[in-house]
Structures are given as C-alpha cells and as structure tokens.
Subunit: 256 residues, 2 copies
C-alpha cells in the first residue's frame, strides 16, 4: 500500500523542501518508487528536482482545482524510481479560489486517490503556513514528518502545528499520525543547536529521528544545480545524513 | 510624519523577523522613536523582543478585528525609544475570520491611522506568505523592504512578491514603493552567497542596500535571550551590520 507523508512546519526555512527532495531521492536510490508532490506556490521542490516551473502545461494547481488527473501532472525526475508532481505560481491563487467550494480540504486527497499501488511513498512538500494548502496535505496524509531547524524561533510554533494536525485528525482524517521530528541544520560548533536538540528530544522522545541533518554548504548549493545533494555529491555530510535517514525511515516503515 | 515600512518575503526563514527586530532596535538606539508591529501568528518578533506572547491581554489580533485600538496593544520594549505591538497565536485565525468582512485588506491601515507623529518609523514583520495578513501590511505601508537570504531558493519568489506589491499599489495603496532589498545570511566562505548577491544587484541595482548582513551565530542565539543582538552583543558581526544598516536607512530617509 502507498504511504502518504506530509512534510510540514509553518516556520519558514526549516528544510521542508530540502527534506522532501533528498529523503525522496535517497529512498528512490534504495529501490523504492517515490513521488514528491510540490504544493508550495514557491515551487522550490520543483526547482530542486531540475524542473522549470514556468514552462509547465499542468501542475498541482490543476490537480487541486480538479482540472487534471494525477497521471497528467506527474513526471519522472532525473533519478530512477523518483517522480514529481510539480507546482507552479498559479498555486498561490488556489487558497482563495477553493475557499467557497465544497469539501475544500479534501481536494488533494481526492486527487491522490488513484495513487495506491503506483508508489511506495509519497512526500507532500508544504508551504510555510497552516492555510488551506497545508490542511489539504494533512487531510490526505497517513503521516506527518516535522523538520525542526536547530534554532530558537523554530521551537515556538510546534505546539500550534500539532494542534492543527490534531484538529485535522478529528475532523477530516482519523489515520493521520505524527511519524517523526527531524532535526535539521544542526551546527555542532554552537551551544544553541544542542540546546534545541535536547529540548525537542525531551518533549518528543522516541518520535525524534535518530538521524540528525548537519548544516552543510553543499546542501544549499545543490538547488542551483537542479539536483538533490544525494546524487550531486555523495560524499558530502548532507548527502550521507539523508541517506542514513532513508535507511532509518525504511526500518520505521518496514519497507522491504 | 511617520514612515510605515513593511518587511516581507513569502520565502521562509530569510530574516524578516531578525531584520524588523534589529533594525528597529538600532534606529531606536540612534534616538528615533520606532514601533515594531508583529503580524506573524508565530509571534517571533514578540519573543525576540522579550515578550511572552502567551500571557497577553491584547495583541495585533484584536487590532485587526477592530476590538482594540493601537494604544491598548502597544507596549514599550526593553530599549528606550523602541515599542512593540505584539502578536499572539489567535492571529492564525484572523485570515479566515476577515475573509468575509468589508475592506478586509485595510484593517491594519485603519488601526495604524492614529500612529502619525507618535513614531518616526513603524516596521511591520510579516509571516512567510502572500495571504491577507501580508496584503494588509502592504496596503498600510509607505515602503517595502525585502530581506533576501543569500541562497538559491530565495531568488525564485522575488518576482511573485513584487507582482503582488504592484497589485496592492494599484488597487489599494498608491503610496507603496519598494524601498530596498537587504542581503542576509551572507557567508563569505561560499561561492553561492556571492553568486546570489551578484544576481540580486544585477536585477535591482541601487535598490539593494549597501550594507550586507553576514551569517553570524550570535544573531541566531539572541532570540533565546529575548533581546536583539544589537544590545546583547554590540561587538558581534551581526550587531555591527544592523547598526550600519540603521545609519544607511537614516541617510536614505533623511531622518535627522
Ligand atoms: N542542512 C542544511 N545545511 C545547509 N543549508 C540547508 C540545509 N537544509 C536546508 N538548507 C538551505 O536552507 C534554506 C532553507 O531550506 P528549505 O528551503 O528546504 O526550507 P523550507 O522549510 O522548505 O523553506 P520554506 O518555509 O520557504 O518552504 C535553503 O536555501 C536550503 O538550501
Ligand atoms: N545573519 C544571520 N546569521 C545567522 N542566523 C540568522 C541570521 N539572520 C537570521 N538568522 C536566524 O535564521 C533563522 C531565520 O530567521 P528569521 O526567523 O528572522 O527569518 P524570517 O524570515 O522571519 O522567518 P519566517 O519566514 O518563519 O517568518 C532564525 O533562527 C534566526 O535567528
Ligand atoms: Mg520549502
Ligand atoms: Mg519571521
């Protein structure tokens, strides 16, 4: 069965896109069929996988408005077993356009209904907000992975995010569970990183992934090459960390 | 007359809050009366100025819903001449609550109407989105300052932001002008930073502030002390940069 994972956190710049792209790619490299769905109007995951969001016929915007089916939108990424449903700037208008429509929170879930069996895992890369696009992702997902940047401001919003996820679980999607918290941009040279990491672990214990993603310049350079770091520079610390995370996710999900 | 400056960029984590807090504080230290208005539901600027957003009677949420006047919400920050209109988590509900109301984009402008003469500058710290809260800020402001993180993904959304600002200028606020682009988290050790900086300068020329904010660990540590870095550690590179920026803004605005 297909596992749909929502990668969300309303705090900006915490590595939602970097995680969707690199964890997705690392799992594909381990032989799993993976789909990355970009539902952020900034279309960063689309760019990070080498696709020009300006030249697209169809995108997740059409998917949400019901004007296209998933197979019309999905394209293969440059890595075997990895697929992308790209976003476009139009998506910025979707929240306002959907406000008045019936079952507005279920549009993404409807569109992904046909995905079962085609992919082992689907990652939904969310924008930095708790608006209708993220609610659609929470309503469509089995799991929520929360990237947490190892910085002070990043701690503040976690309660709000979990509260919203719980509201979605009760009202729309009883299957939704918090699958894990991923510590990102960990800088071993600073006290701040270990203080934040300790705080997250003391709150969420087992739910915190053992793999921690270090701050690594190669990770921030990779998007300019349109490639995930796991293929661009296999020896970099960022690449090693995301490949370790893929192995950990495989065990947690008992993927073969 | 009071100058209202909107600090916005839908890309997350680019230093909108860090700039509102530290530029505001540095100008206050130079003797200007400054108000920071936090309209992000994450309330990071509120925390960064040492205020606990959980214990507030009134916040910018009440301001936008018309349930409070500005003087009821504003409090003094720990620095002379610096004031804060704090945010709270309730603000997350404001966008949905305002969708149906008349002149929903002008709520913040209405609330700030009485500010003239009380402050020389007002900084509006926006959330990472182009939704109703940011539109309210663009509609209320004279100027837009855009923090641009020196990373690849940060370049992508600038066209979208400027397009939205232009739409607001035409439909709601003819006074709005782009006051400047601020390069942030510049890491001199990487080619990426200088490539992004060159790209931004080649597009926007004179509009790019001469002052560049370097990546500095002290800047990310300061929020955990509830203090801007410009008072916490005056010798740090982040502090020096924001004080230089304040001097540059003073000249650009011919503040005495
Ligand atoms: N471990 C890391 N080390 C260094 N840079 C990183 C790391 N992870 C992400 N980055 C960089 O930090 C920036 C923010 O990451 P990213 O865009 O993935 O976050 P996001 O949460 O998706 O942001 P948004 O909230 O705008 O969607 C990007 O420029 C990215 O390249
Ligand atoms: N020059 C800098 N050097 C190092 N860290 C910085 C710098 N500027 C900001 N930071 C840190 O980077 C993170 C992102 O900055 P900040 O929260 O100000 O961005 P933002 O644009 O307001 O984010 P959001 O989109 O969530 O509102 C914070 O943890 C902050 O402390
Ligand atoms: Mg992103
Ligand atoms: Mg902020």
């Amino acid at each position: 069965i297909t596992r749909i994972v929502c990668v969300a956190n309303q705090k900006g710049g915490v590595a939602k896109t970097t995680t969707s792209v690199n964890l997705g790619a690392a799992l594909a490299m381990r032989g799993h069929r993976v789909l990355v769905v970009d539902i952020d109007p900034q279309a960063n995951a689309t760019t990070g996988l080498g696709v020009d969001h300006r030249s697209l016929e169809r995108s997740t915007y059409d998917l949400l408005l019901g004007d296209a089916k998933l197979p019309d939108v999905v394209r293969s990424a440059s890595i075997e077993n990895l697929f992308l449903a790209p976003s476009s700037l139009d998506l910025a208008g979707a929240e306002v356009e959907l406000v008045g429509s019936m079952a507005r929170e279920r549009k993404l879930g409807e569109a992904l209904r046909g995905v079962d069996g085609d992919y082992e895992m689907v990652f939904l890369d969310c924008p930095p907000s708790l608006g209708l696009l993220t609610v659609n992702a929470l309503a469509a997902a089995h799991d929520l992975i929360v990237p947490v940047q190892c910085e002070y401001y990043a701690l503040e919003g976690l309660g709000q995010l979990l509260g919203n996820a719980e509201r979605v679980r009760r009202a729309l999607n009883p299957e939704l569970r918090v699958a894990g918290f991923l510590l990102t941009m960990y800088d071993a040279r600073t006290k701040l990183s270990s203080q934040v990491a300790d705080e997250v672990r003391s709150h969420f214990g087992e739910l915190v992934f053992g793999t921690v993603i270090p701050r690594s310049v190669r990770l921030s350079e990779a998007p300019s090459f349109g490639e995930p770091v796991v293929t661009l520079d296999t020896a970099s610390r960022g690449s090693i960390a995301y490949r370790l995370l893929a192995a950990e996710v495989e065990t947690r999900y008992t993927l073969s």
